[in-house]
Symmetry: C2
Subunit: 325 residues, 2 copies
C-alpha cells in the first residue's frame, strides 16, 4: 500500500508533466501558476485512494486525480474573482496577477480540461464517472451561489448552512473517492458508500476549519487570525451564538460582524471568542465536526471492504482531524 | 426531410422543457433568461442537420443540440463580462441584470450542463463526441484569449486574425455538425468532413458579419452601425486597409479606431468606409468570405453523401450568405 507521501509525489509529478501548455501564453501561464501554488493535494490523493480500495495500480487513476485537482483549482480561480480576494496561499490571485478576463477564461479552460482528463478511461466506465462528476460539479456551483446569497441574509438556519457547505466543499471530497472507485470498476453501491464517507469527512473538515479559524494557533496557518470574524463570514459559530445569546450579546456580535465598532481587529476577534464561549458555540461546533467524522468513519468500517485497503482513507481522515491549524 | 422551421421548433420546445431549474433562484433564473433571449438557434439546428445526414430520427440528437446551445450561451455570458458589454440582443447582459459573480457562476453551470447533455448517449459514442467537444471548447477559449491579446497589438497579421476567428467562432459551427454526425454513428472521416464544411462556412459567416457591420443596412440589425469601427475592433477590413493605405490614410484610419478625432460617430463610420473602399478592403473581405463559403460547399458536394441528405446543410449555408444584415 502506498504511503501518503508516495501518493503526493505521484500527483506532483503528473501535475508537472501536465501543466506545460503553450499558446496563448497568458492563458497557459495562469493555469501553470495556480496549479503550482502548492497545497496538500488532498482531493487528487483521495481519487487514488478510492481506486486503491479495489486495485493496486493506482497510477491508472492519475488522469482522474488530475481532473479533480483541475476542477478544484477552477473553482478557486472563479471564487477568488467573486470574493474579490487578492491573495491565495500567500500569493496574488490569478485575476490580480493577470486580469479578470484572463482569470475567467483560465478557469473555463481548466473545467474543460478536467472533463478531458476525467474521460480518459474505458468507454463503459464513462457514464457512471460522468454522472458522479456532473452531479458534484452542479452542486458545487449551487453551493457557491448559496454562500453568496447567504451573505445578504441574517436568517440563515443551521440546516441551510450545513447544506451550503455540503454542496460547496464536501461533495467534492466525496466525489473524489467515488470517482477513483468507479475508475477501478467499483459498482454503484460500493462507490456510493465511499462517497458518503467522503461527504461526512468533508463536512467535519470544513467545520474544523471554521473552528480553527477563530480558535486555532494562527502562527502556523498563514491566514489572518479570525479572518471569518473580520470578514463577517457567518459560519456555524456565528449562527449558533446568535441564536443562543442574550440581546446585549447579540448586538455586540452583530456590531463586530458588521464592522460597526471602534475595536481593533485583534479586539474584535477576542470579543467574538468570548461571546462564542459564553454560548458554548465553540464546543457545539467542535462536537459537530467530531460527529460527522465518526459517522463517516463508522460507515466505512462497517462496510464490506478489506481493512488493509481502506486504511489509507482512514489514516488521511484521521490526520485531517488532528491538525491544530 | 425536416424544414428549417421544423428544426427550430424542435429546439425551442426542448429549450423550454429544459430551462426549468429551481434552486438557487438567482442561478437558474439567469440561465433561463439568456436561453430565452432568442436568436436563430443556428448551432443546435446544425447538430440536428448533422445527425440528419445519417438518420431521420433527428429528435434523438436533441440533447446534443441543446448541449451546443448551452455551450454557446456560456461563452456569451462570460464574453460579455470580459468585454464589459451592457446589452445582448437588445436586453441587459446577465452580469448587468444580476451581478458579475452570478454571471460567472451561471456560465460555469451552463458549461457543466452542456457536458451532461452531450453525454446523454450510448457509451460507445461518448469517446469520439467528447473528443470533438473538448477540442472545440479548448479552441474557443484560446480564440477568446487571442482576441483580447490582439486588442493590445497593432501588428496582427491576416493569418493570425483568421486563426483567431476560426477558433473563436468557426470551430463551434463545425463541431455542431460533427457532433450531430457522431451521435448518429458516423465514422471519424465522415464526421471530420462535415466539421471542415462547418468551419469553412463559419469563417465565411464571420467575415460576412464583419463586412455587414460596416457596409450592411443597419435598420435591420439592431446593432450600432459600424460598431466595430467605433469600438476599435480590428477586423480584416482594418488589417487589409492599414496594410495597403498610404501614410496619410493610415493615420486617419488609426485616429478613427483610437478615437483621436473630433468627428461624430456617423462621420467616423463614413470616413472609415471611404478608406476601406479606396484600398479595396471591402471587396477583398467580401471575396474572402465567398471563397471560404465555396470551399465548404464544394467539400460537402464532392463527398460521398446522398444529395437529399445534405440539402438542409447547403440550404442553411446559402441562407446565411444571402442576408444583408
Amino acid at each position: 500500500m502506498n504511503s501518503l507521501e508516495e501518493y503526493k509525489r505521484l500527483i506532483e509529478d503528473s501535475i508537472t508533466k501536465y501543466s506545460s501548455g503553450t499558446e496563448p501564453e497568458n492563458l497557459h501561464n495562469s493555469i501553470r501558476y495556480i496549479l503550482n501554488l502548492g497545497g496538500k493535494r488532498i482531493r487528487p490523493i483521495l481519487v487514488l485512494m478510492g481506486y486503491g480500495v479495489f486495485n493496486d495500480h493506482v497510477e491508472r487513476a492519475l488522469h482522474q486525480a488530475l481532473a479533480i485537482e483541475l476542477f478544484h483549482n477552477f473553482t478557486l480561480i472563479h471564487d477568488d474573482i467573486m470574493d474579490r480576494a487578492d491573495l491565495r496561499r500567500g500569493h496574488l490571485t490569478v485575476h490580480k496577477k493577470w486580469s479578470e478576463p484572463t482569470a475567467i477564461l483560465s478557469g473555463d479552460l481548466m473545467l474543460i480540461k478536467a472533463y478531458e482528463l476525467l474521460c480518459d478511461a474505458p468507454p463503459q466506465l464513462l457514464p457512471p464517472m460522468l454522472q458522479a462528476f456532473n452531479t458534484m460539479a452542479t452542486e458545487v456551483c449551487e453551493g457557491q451561489q448559496m454562500d453568496m446569497d447567504f451573505e445578504q441574509r441574517t436568517d440563515v438556519s443551521e440546516e441551510e448552512y450545513i447544506d451550503m457547505i455540503r454542496k460547496k466543499t464536501s461533495v467534492l471530497i466525496g466525489a473524489a473517492i467515488q470517482i477513483g472507485a468507479l475508475r477501478a470498476g467499483a459498482d454503484a453501491s460500493e462507490a456510493g458508500l465511499l462517497y458518503e464517507f467522503g461527504v461526512n469527512i468533508g463536512l467535519a473538515f470544513q467545520m474544523l476549519d471554521d473552528y480553527l479559524d477563530v480558535f486555532g494557533q494562527s502562527e502556523k496557518t498563514g491566514k489572518v487570525e479570525g479572518g471569518d470574524v473580520l470578514n463577517g463570514k457567518k459560519t456555524l459559530l456565528f449562527l449558533h451564538c446568535y441564536r443562543h445569546a442574550d440581546e446585549q450579546s447579540k448586538n455586540e456580535l452583530l456590531s463586530i460582524y458588521e464592522n460597526r465598532t471602534s475595536k481593533s481587529n485583534a479586539e474584535k476577534v477576542l470579543a467574538a471568542r468570548e461571546l462564542f464561549k459564553v454560548t458554548g458555540s465553540d464546543k457545539y461546533l467542535y462536537k459537530k465536526a467530531e460527529d460527522y467524522y465518526h459517522i463517516g468513519v463508522n460507515l466505512l468500517k462497517s462496510a464490506d471492504f478489506q481493512r488493509e485497503r481502506i486504511k489509507p482513507l482512514l489514516t488521511l481522515a484521521d490526520s485531517l482531524m488532528q491538525r491544530e491549524h
